[in-house]
């Protein structure tokens, strides 16, 4: 059964189309990765799913209910972990979790128990009486998570939950994602860290200019570009590069020049590396580095969007 179904979703800000006729379905129990550069429409989509933004067109169904019509019901089953840490500095860790859980209608003993459980889940039991101002970045991120899970939502949306934290806290959070998933939660996970998405997500959608340009498991996405590989050549100066000449080399399907780096897409199985290097030597283009990449999520993203995720 699908926990989330998006159909023809569109959002415009004046003339700018942030989300363009997007359709998507996420099944219960999935860890779904959302990949996209800044401004691709990822956050706008999440904001519409969580009811922070009104859509212009289309429908968003969560647990079979239209979000705009049954907003309160839908919101009770969602837990949002925002990219920015959104906690109260003047409430203790316990009070923070208790306050947010209370907004979902929990009261009394149940509220206390769920609060304690959530703090225990993120490993902040011993710090429950402390104020967040005394916390490290990683601890604040964990409290940010606890505030979103105490009401035991069915769908958890994690928007860049590991930004700016130490490796230990990142590991802890990634383990938590797996644990939450094992406990039956469906997770939508967005991240700039390709390796995280590759590690934890069972299915991934790549979003660009408000559209989903590719969707599937890691293997399915990689298979989209199995017939090509990417060669990165960093040169001292790109001024003398003639893209058309490189195109004429056998097997080359695409050439992009970005500052001093030349990205060459070439057919897999065609041995043309010598010819490519020969072009640079003949034209006295000093090569500083050369990198040949086999298909992975990053090359998939690069191939499909033409941009590096972290640079965008």
């Amino acid at each position: 059964m699908n926990i989330l179904e998006i159909q023809d979703l569109t959002k415009k800000f004046d003339d700018f189309i942030a989300v363009d006729d997007m359709s998507l379905a996420i099944a219960e129990g999935e860890i779904f990765g959302f990949l996209g550069s800044n401004g691709a429409g990822k956050s706008t989509t999440i904001n519409m799913i969580t009811g922070l933004l009104r859509k212009n067109k289309g429908s968003i169904m969560i647990l079979g209910k239209e979000t705009s019509k049954d907003s309160e019901f839908v919101k009770r089953h969602i837990g949002l972990i925002p990219q920015e840490i959104a906690i109260y500095e003047d409430l203790t860790a316990y009070e923070n979790v208790k306050f947010f859980a209370g907004l979902y209608g929990l009261r009394g003993g149940e509220l206390h128990d769920r609060t304690v459980e959530a703090l225990e889940f993120v490993g902040l039991t011993e710090k429950q009486k402390s104020y967040p101002k005394t916390f490290s970045g990683g601890m604040k991120r964990r409290l940010n998570i606890a505030c979103a899970i105490a009401h035991q939502p069915k769908l958890i949306i994690m928007d860049e939950p590991t930004v700016g934290i130490d490796p230990q806290s990142r590991k802890y959070i990634l383990q938590s994602v797996h644990k939450l998933n094992e406990m039956g939660c469906t997770i939508i996970y967005t991240s700039h860290y390709m390796e995280e998405v590759e590690e934890i997500c069972s299915r991934i959608a790549i979003i660009d200019h408000g559209k989903i340009i590719a969707e599937g498991t890691k293997e399915q996405l990689k298979s989209l570009i199995t017939d090509s590989k990417l060669i990165f050549i960093e040169v001292k100066s790109q001024e003398a590069i003639d893209v058309d000449t490189i195109y004429k080399i056998q097997g080359v399907t695409d050439v992009k020049v970005d500052e001093n780096t030349v990205q060459i897409h070439t057919e897999l199985g065609v041995n043309n590396l010598n010819q490519i290097i020969d072009y640079f030597i003949r034209n006295q283009l000093e090569i500083r580095s050369l990198d040949e990449k086999e298909p992975n999520l990053e090359t998939v993203f690069l191939t499909l969007t033409g941009r590096n995720l972290r640079d965008s």
Partner: protein
């Protein structure tokens, strides 16, 4: 309603956990009372009169007993050497010294040998003199009729005291001071209420800045409920400020409001609605807490001064008085003044309507501005 109460509880807890806020919201309103007391001074209606009697004869004794019988005067017999200290320290407002020979001078028809000492001037001595001179004039008339004979004078004086007509006197209470003090204290309270309302509404901006506002909106709480809870907290704090101020004025400082407590409370409650409206307009037009603070200072202080919260509006030029008629604070003070002057609530329906109209206008402007938003980066 449960979730609104939950939000209110959190706002009240985080607000009053800071001691500075307790001082700002609950203690500062009382400063207005102290300012009013300082400005109007201690203008109690009872005078304390010191008496030094070097004469110690019948007529001086009778004069002292006359003074003791006067309303609003407390007579304290003191010694000559204590006069200076008592007057300077304010233990007495004035001292009358009956010199030796006072009785004889009255009996001979030429009253003399009487000294009046005070550092408070005519405001104190005028009252005493007006009574005392008339009384001594009567005594002189009697002594003239007795032709200086003490026995005849005593007999005439006895008859004079036994006269069968009786004059009932009723002292009119001077309410101008208490009225002015009440208005000063409430004028200051108006300013504090507006500042408090702006501060409490700015919580919306602070929560937007720390992103908790958007997290709240991802829960079953709607933006409308969130704003409503803020308005309720705001109203609650302001009503407490009004109750504290009125209670201290009436029961601690015993200042006569010249209006019933509930009427004053009602007018100030309507004003609290206006304050919340103004604060929401400020928040709706501000992008940050800093901008809201600047706007608050720009709006509140000048309008409070122009509307006569710190001094009577009558002392300002006519053109400024006309401007003040467009300010809600002016209409609030005007309603209170008219109630002090004895107008009934019913007769002030126009004032009340105008106050409600101000509140409605501010709320509508704020709602309009809030509803124009379509971005999570700005308001609802």
């Amino acid at each position: 309603m449960g979730d609104i109460l939950w939000l209110m509880r959190k706002t009240l807890r985080t607000t009053f956990r800071k001691k500075g806020n307790i001082l700002l919201y609950l203690v500062t309103p009382l400063v207005g009372i102290f300012i009013a007391l300082l400005a109007n001074g201690d203008q109690g209606s009872e005078l304390t009169l010191g008496v030094v009697n070097h004469d110690n004869k019948q007529i001086s004794m009778e004069t002292i007993s006359f003074l003791k019988g006067l309303d609003n005067i407390r007579v304290k017999e003191i010694q000559e050497e204590d006069v200076k200290e008592h007057v300077i320290s304010g233990k007495v407002d004035s001292v009358i010294t009956f010199e030796q020979g006072y009785s004889e001078s009255v009996l001979t028809g030429e009253p003399d040998s009487l000294d009046l000492t005070s550092i408070k001037g005519e405001s104190v001595t005028g009252f005493v003199k007006s009574y005392l001179y008339q009384y001594i004039d009567n005594l002189t008339a009697l002594s003239k009729a007795a032709e200086g004979e003490l026995d005849t004078f005593s007999s005439l004086y006895h008859d004079y005291k036994q006269t069968d007509f009786q004059l009932n006197t009723t002292a009119l209470e001077d309410s101008s001071t208490s009225k002015s003090m009440t208005l000063s204290a409430l004028g200051f309270l108006i300013m504090i209420m507006m500042i408090s309302a702006a501060n409490l509404s700015e919580i919306i901006l602070a929560e937007k800045a720390n992103r908790t506002y958007f997290r709240l909106l991802s829960t079953p709480i709607s933006a409308r409920k969130y704003i409503f809870s803020n308005v309720l907290v705001n109203m609650m704090v302001m009503l407490v400020q009004v109750v504290i101020t009125l209670a201290f004025l009436s029961y601690v400082f015993h200042i006569d409001l010249n209006i019933s407590l509930w009427k004053a409370l009602l007018v100030m409650a309507i004003f609290s609605l206006i304050s919340v409206g103004v604060s929401l307009v400020i928040v709706a037009f501000s992008n940050s807490r800093g901008a809201a603070n600047a706007l608050t200072n720009l709006i509140i202080m000048p309008t409070v001064m122009l509307s006569g919260c710190f001094w009577p509006v009558e002392v300002m030029p006519e053109s400024v008085q006309k401007i003040s008629e467009f300010l809600p604070q002016r209409w609030t003070l005007d309603t209170l003044t008219k109630l002090q002057e004895g107008s009934s609530f019913g007769s002030l329906y126009l004032n009340i309507l105008i106050l409600f109209a101000f509140a409605a206008a501010f709320f509508l402007i704020a709602i309009y501005k809030f509803s124009r938003n379509n971005s999570t980066k700005s308001f609802i």
